[in-house]
Amino acid sequence: MAEERSEKREDAGEAESRSLLRLLVETKSVMPAAGATGLPLVLVIAAMCFLASLALGAALSVGGATADWTRDLSGALTVEVKPARDKNIDTQVETAIKVLTGAEGVLSVHALTVADTQALLEPWLGKGNVTEDLPLPRLIDVRIDARAPPDIAALAKRLSDAVPGAELDTHRQWQAELVRAAHAAEWLAYAVLAVVAATTIAIVTFATRAGLSANREVVEVLHLIGARDRFVAAEIQRHFLHLGLRGGAIGLALSVAAFLALGWQGNAASMFLVPMSGLRLQYYPALVAVPLVAALVAVVTARLTVIRTLHRML
């Protein structure tokens, strides 16, 4: 019946969709498909693919965010001018701006006003609690050309010579710590991915062995009528290809739904230090690789397990 149906489809000229369908709908195998390794295994692979997609999405997001921060921060410097008793801070700021504006590699210089500085402190001190006579350092935001940066050490020296008490903050330390933390998070996500992959291999190995042992009689008959190991392996790995793809498709759908839900929740959700408004669009194609890799892992594992097990038989 299945053959008749597929023939009809061929006549309809839907060969492409048919071959796609074939990957998901198992054709009849010499080895019984059901039994120990049917629906439960599809669900396990679906769960594994879901976790793998989440881990991969998180790793890609953190990696992307780290790259963005590095790019942003390496294009910026901050100059802090500390107030001194005997000097007018506005004059000092102006002097600093002059030094900075003339320097090579500096794109723009923008001094924060007293009001700006107070606004920065508001979250910590509360509105209106910053008194006029509180000696506040003044900040100058400097944008530099990241591709042709100025000589930072020379610039810092010139600055401190011209304006005593002025400090050049390259954000380097903050940036390094942030990047280190983000890298750790990224590697953690990749480690989760590796553990998920290893678990999947173990499960497929176990299921293949269980399937082989449940079908021992069939395998023996196949051997006795002249089947080679690769025929038996092909029959079993076809079964696992379908299981892997079906499970993978379910897992992928769940993870895409999860990322979309994160996006829908907005910035409230965060993952691994990264405020996430869902997964960036460019990372979705990478998630599609997850079920494909899962199916490949299932097929290769099943094949190796079958060949290894059969080698112990006559």
């Binding site: 009849k28 010499v30 019984p32 009689e217 069939v218 023996e220 008959v221 196949l222 051997h223 006795l224 009528i225 002249g226 089947a227 080679r228 025929f231 080698h311 006559l314």
Partner: protein, 237 residues
Amino acid sequence: MFSPSHVPNPGFHDTVPSMIRFENVGMRYGMGPEVLRDVSFHLAPGSLHFLTGPSGAGKTSLLKLMFLAQRPSRGLITMFDRDIATLPRAELPDIRRRVGVVFQEFRLIDHLTTYENIALPLKIQGRAEESYRADVKELLSWVGLGERMQAKPPTLSGGEKQRAAIARAVVAQPDLLLADEPTGNVDPEMGKRLLRLFIELNRLGTSVLIATHDHALVEQARAPELVLQNGRLTVRG
């Protein structure tokens, strides 16, 4: 056609073509007693033999050695001029494909239809279904299973299973056909019909060895008989 045991003739190997040759073969299961002892014989191409003996005499064990389900504990077995003891595992399928086997317990695959079961030896050879579909259907009709093509083995009667098992054994036109009690579950009429099939195959060049309890069958065919008794083999006829 048949050479009795103890034939230490030096030139023997070169002069008589043989399909299967056993020389002083012994076999035991694990650490158990020997179920076959000093078995020596050879089957020539195109021969027809019966294998008889009481239950437990070792008939099935002898057949197992011939369809490569077991290796001998000692002695020499050559099949199609290949030494079975030294044959690499990867080359066993080539030999097995030249041997058709009717198992005593049929060993059909339960979840495949009768048609698929019978076509299996051709499928595993990698042949396309279009190339054998008609032949398989014809064979099915010949053994009286034309109407049961889509039935699965659990729904077949004992006799039908037996005929399906025979059809599977002969479908790939093997050089050697081994049948373990092939008429045990069929009525005398069908028994005769199956024997005619074996004889017909034999005429077409297949060597046939039939293990049986059925003396009527042996007398009908008037073929030489290998008699197993307590693990030892003698010849009659």
